[in-house]
């Protein structure tokens, strides 16, 4: 099921969700040869990169629910400079195009990271994670359509590469945010990111479990929410959509495609099954063949 997305010719519509597959760690665990021979995704989305290195949140970082995962990883990364120097050359040897996910605490910072990443030929497209809170309003930049549009107008000109805006689902009307992104020149939107969630200690103390205090819910629990948001966005924008949230089987991917997504990202399911992406792509193509 080859698919074209923002000018990229991809073998199938299944990519990974940012932050849910570390290709370099996977090389260490499974071996480079095995990983490259059966790479599960048609493009590789790297974990969010920021201007300066971040250690991430103190543990615990994970909380399991009956059909989901709450994470509070805190975007650990080596910073854009080390990312470009150390990781990008290695990602460039992967058999699929590289999409780099970036974030900034301000529009300025986001533009700076985007520009740095945009210079690199190994990078096929850039995904902007706009879920960081605005210090003034306390709201996520990405949750307020006008603020989102202003930030993107600042970032858009710094690169000619395709820009994918990863929307936050924690908003009143995600389609308004998608429209703002489209208006500001985004080439695509991706959604959904995780739903804000707070697990407590199981001991009944009422204290929070996560070192980062709050986290985000992913996995099958959010699948119907993802469908609602992707469908709402598809009804209002013309740019392509990367749909994600709780995808475990080809049928789930097909559902996201049927409400308007062009690509589907797999996140949490890869934790349960390292080659989930490949399995889902195969199931999807079997469904398409059967239809």
């Amino acid at each position: 099921m080859p698919v074209s997305f923002c000018g990229l010719a991809l073998d199938h519509p299944i990519v990974n969700g940012s932050g849910t597959f570390d290709a370099l760690a996977a090389e260490r665990a499974f071996g480079r040869t095995a990983l490259h021979a059966a790479f599960p995704f048609s493009a590789y989305v790297s974990k969010t990169i920021t201007l300066v290195p971040r250690p991430g949140n103190p543990p615990p970082r994970l909380w399991e629910t009956a059909t989901g995962l709450v994470n509070s990883i805190g975007l650990p990364n080596k910073g854009v400079e080390a990312y470009l120097a150390d990781d990008v050359p290695r990602y460039a040897t992967l058999p699929v195009p590289l999409i780099t996910n970036v974030m900034g605490a301000t529009g300025e910072e986001l533009a700076e990271v985007t520009a740095a990443v945009g210079d690199r030929p190994e990078i096929a497209a850039i995904e902007l994670n706009v879920s960081c809170p605005n210090v003034a309003t306390g709201l996520d930049i990405g949750a307020v359509p006008a603020e989102l549009e202003a930030v993107l107008r600042r970032v858009r000109p710094v690169t000619a590469k395709p820009l994918i805006v990863k929307l936050t689902p924690n908003t009143a009307d995600v389609a308004l945010c998608a429209q703002a992104a489209e208006a500001a020149g985004a080439d695509a939107v991706s959604l959904i990111n995780t739903l804000r969630a707070v697990p407590l200690q199981p001991d009944g103390s009422g204290a929070r479990w996560l070192g980062g205090r709050q986290g985000g819910l992913s996995g099958p629990a959010i699948r119907v929410v993802a469908l609602a948001q992707v469908a709402a966005v598809a009804e209002r924008v013309g740019i392509p959509i990367v749909g994600m949230g709780g995808v475990q089987h080809g049928r789930h991917a097909a559902d996201l495609l049927s409400v308007g997504a062009t690509l589907v990202a797999v996140g949490t399911e890869s934790f349960r099954d390292p080659i989930a992406g490949a399995r889902i792509a195969a199931e999807l193509s079997a469904l398409a063949a059967g239809a």
Partner: protein, 303 residues
């Protein structure tokens, strides 16, 4: 860091990574329960894992049952669970489990013939006493402190469910001609029962119902008093590992700790399983560990 993996079976064609670890087949695979047995407070589980390589002692697997994983009383588990085999060879894996929550409960109630999803072996296992010594001291391999016994004496310390990788490591050391001192700590006699076959091991229990009345770290302190040139390997709950870490750092004893952490993936994908490092930042237990040099670690978290 060393690229020697002392557990390596020299005549095997098992794919190994750049750092010497045994690589996991990419994906998850089905394995069947061959036998189960309850010993005191633990359950021993034997799996036929024809498609997996034997693990390095200290590596671990991610396990989930194929049927009814979840939807029990509290509807978890959803994710697979990490377990270090107490042995692996000939396409079989042996695990020792303690039923502490919904995932281990489900695994502990498996019956012969039931199917599991298995991935792994993951992570870095234990390194040879020589390697650990040389790494910790930053000296060359012909350091006189290594003595004439061919290397420093390994002291293996296990607390409770930390036993499986310690058993596997002691067996591997024995195969290689090195006898290790075994110090085993348990809550009580019911938990200690599983150690009955280790005739030469020293035992401690928290309640004194078997062996030394007190912590296994007390036994360790006594051993270290007797031998300045030991190398320590320990596995157990966070607080025990932290006690070991403090003891060996005060005395500057080369030590490897096999850590635990809540995990979602087991292969470095989620960044969820971190422990704090002495020099700041975090390491992922699943790819950077679970076996780590004690000297690299900040205080070990309780969970």
């Amino acid at each position: 860091m060393s690229v020697h993996q002392s557990g390596a079976d020299p005549h095997s064609a098992i794919p190994r990574g750049e750092d010497g670890r045994t690589l996991a087949p990419f994906g998850r695979r089905r394995a069947l329960v061959v036998s189960t047995r309850t010993v005191g407070s633990y359950v021993l589980l034997e799996l036929a894992d024809r498609d997996g390589p034997p693990a390095d002692p200290g590596q671990f697997h991610m396990l989930a049952t194929q049927q009814h994983w979840g939807a029990g009383e509290d509807e978890r588990p959803f994710l697979p669970r990490a377990f270090s085999p107490m042995g692996s060879s000939g396409g079989h894996l042996w695990f020792m489990l303690e039923d502490v929550g919904p995932g281990t409960h489900r695994l502990a109630t498996l019956k012969k013939g039931e199917a599991l999803w298995v991935s792994g072996p993951f992570g870095r296992g234990f390194h040879s006493p020589e390697t650990v010594h040389v790494e910790a001291r930053s000296v060359s391999g012909d350091d006189p402190a290594l003595g004439d016994r061919g290397g420093p004496r390994p002291i293996l310390v296990a607390g409770g469910i930390g036993l499986p990788p310690i058993i596997d490591w002691s067996r591997r050391l024995t195969e290689q001609g090195t006898e290790a001192t075994m110090l085993l700590g348990f809550r009580d006699a019911a938990h200690a029962q599983v150690a009955a076959s280790f005739a030469t091991a020293q035992l401690a229990t928290d309640d004194g119902s078997a062996g030394h009345h007190g912590y296994v770290t007390e036994l360790l302190a006594a051993e270290l008093d007797r031998d300045q040139h030991a190398v320590v390997y320990a596995c157990g709950p966070g607080p025990m590992l932290e006690a070991v870490r403090r003891l060996v750092s005060e005395r500057d004893v080369p030590t490897e700790l096999a850590l635990e952490a809540g995990m979602a993936c087991g292969y470095g994908a989620c960044f969820g399983c971190v422990v704090p490092l002495k020099d700041g930042g975090y390491a992922r237990v699943c790819v950077d560990g679970p076996v780590m040099a004690a000297g690299d670690l900040a205080p070990v978290p309780a969970h």
